[in-house]
Symmetry: C2
Subunit: 337 residues, 2 copies
Amino acid sequence: MATLHRGRQSIIFDRRPALLSYGAIGGKKEHEGPLAAYFDDTSQDTRFRQRSWEKAEQKMQALALETAKRKAGLHDEALGAIFGGDLLNQCVSTSFAVRDTHVPFLGLYGACSTMAESLLLAGMAVNGGYVSTAAAMSSSHFATAERQYRFPLNYGGQRTPTAQWTVTGAGCVLLGQHEKGPFLHAATMGTVVDYGIKDASNMGAAMAPAAYTTLRAHFDDLHLSPEDYDLIVTGDLGAVGEEILQELFQRDGVTLPHYRDCGTMIYDLKRQDVHAGGSGCGCSAVVLCGYLLRRMAKGEYHNILFCGTGALLSPLTTQQGESIPGICHAVAIRDAR
Amino acid sequence: MATLHRGRQSIIFDRRPALLSYGAIGGKKEHEGPLAAYFDDTSQDTRFRQRSWEKAEQKMQALALETAKRKAGLHDEALGAIFGGDLLNQCVSTSFAVRDTHVPFLGLYGACSTMAESLLLAGMAVNGGYVSTAAAMSSSHFATAERQYRFPLNYGGQRTPTAQWTVTGAGCVLLGQHEKGPFLHAATMGTVVDYGIKDASNMGAAMAPAAYTTLRAHFDDLHLSPEDYDLIVTGDLGAVGEEILQELFQRDGVTLPHYRDCGTMIYDLKRQDVHAGGSGCGCSAVVLCGYLLRRMAKGEYHNILFCGTGALLSPLTTQQGESIPGICHAVAIRDAR
């Protein structure tokens, strides 16, 4: 029997599933940011012409899926499965977004690591021949997240300097077998890592140790080094977390020469008043499906390690005095087989 | 390339992952029910000696995992991945339960279908050689679910006749390659099905159409009929939902000769005042890991189709006037290869 696991946490996609197409939908603030030109669609209306913000988030996911299907020329009948999730309680953005598709649906919860988790599992499903095509998708919405996790928007609560701004956006990748890339090469599954951080306004610090642990495992398991990638990108550590991650590696005498974070890429941190940067499942989803894969298609990146980072807390665990466990799943994407 | 998908929704586990061991933990009311003798452990204390019900639910999942590992003689270091989820917002029961294991963790949300979803995905991972062993687990707790989904317990709200009682329990199965069964043979991934039911106190009616759709797909995709199983068991349709499911099949001229529902098995419906029966992720998890697999080990069942059923609503979607989408994932378990 072929063994595709490597070391403690990593797996090989020996049949190299291809990223057939991708769609990225953004909101108003994302449209005003530096990556505006890379979205398939953005809306000036944070409600996306729906009756509530929650329905707007469902609409964004449905649009991201539609966009990816249209680009790949694929109809629902030809889509084998959808892997996806979001931040809302009971992951309702995703399950309502796929309600009318009649496509098999596997719901996930990995907090803001969900885009990477869904790519990893959709990759397993396509690589293993369980489905011929699969969608991986995720979303977040500033207004749905604020009122669920923090305060009603009208309350006008002040934000701490370490706080991040939940991205309004949705991303979707379609995977299948194809001659043309980019391709999934490998992945590293994350473990739950908790360094005891209790400040729910400092998610970057809570997630950075998880990113460090997964990246270490990735390099060790697959006998790789940071230099083997022309981009290592984390999901939403923000300005605080990306500094901590680099510090953790510096202690080991390792530098990350081509490292960036989606949370500090999606907004202009000074001009857009987002404090430590962007966050939310939608952050890494739209930066991947909008910016990174388009730059790879242009030949500007060849070898990306995409690391989704998630904080596995709930408002209730914070109220009960718990610390914030983090997780990070990594997926290696290359433009060649 | 080996193609393991069949028809629209089904997959074949050609390498027949084995169920190496299983653990079932129950609460006080479950201990008073007809399946009491089949649990590995139960507690008279609904807090399981923890400071909150939420921590009690985490404890139950940790105990279920511990039990399964002990029976299989497996340590965390040898466990390739954990697939699991629960009903709490942000699935915190599961992520906190696995926090100290250092085992790769893939978080899932399938509402009460999660035990079947986790078996399906853990099965894919083991069958594909991505991990050599994997855990599939889930839980629910009456008190955590009541206060999150409905009313504070102290409010003493009256329950409708169609309401179900969330099971306090956790179940865990370990999968791997082994000569001895039982074995996973096949699975059918569910689609989101919504017949427009809006009564959140009648989940059975909301989920029955999803169970019907998945069972139909299972029989069609794999050219099987209900007679091919000596037990078809749904997760938590309860007394109302199981009747609707049988009616839907009767319209097609099909009877389900060996059909039961975990929700009506776990409690004595008349004596225990649970109205339409049990529900929650823990319901199908403990009936499978406690009762069904033990009876299969004794040779009393040979061929079970285990169908997890989930209602993909949140309190917010109900408040916003939405109907209740359902989902059902099915896994075929046999005692022989």
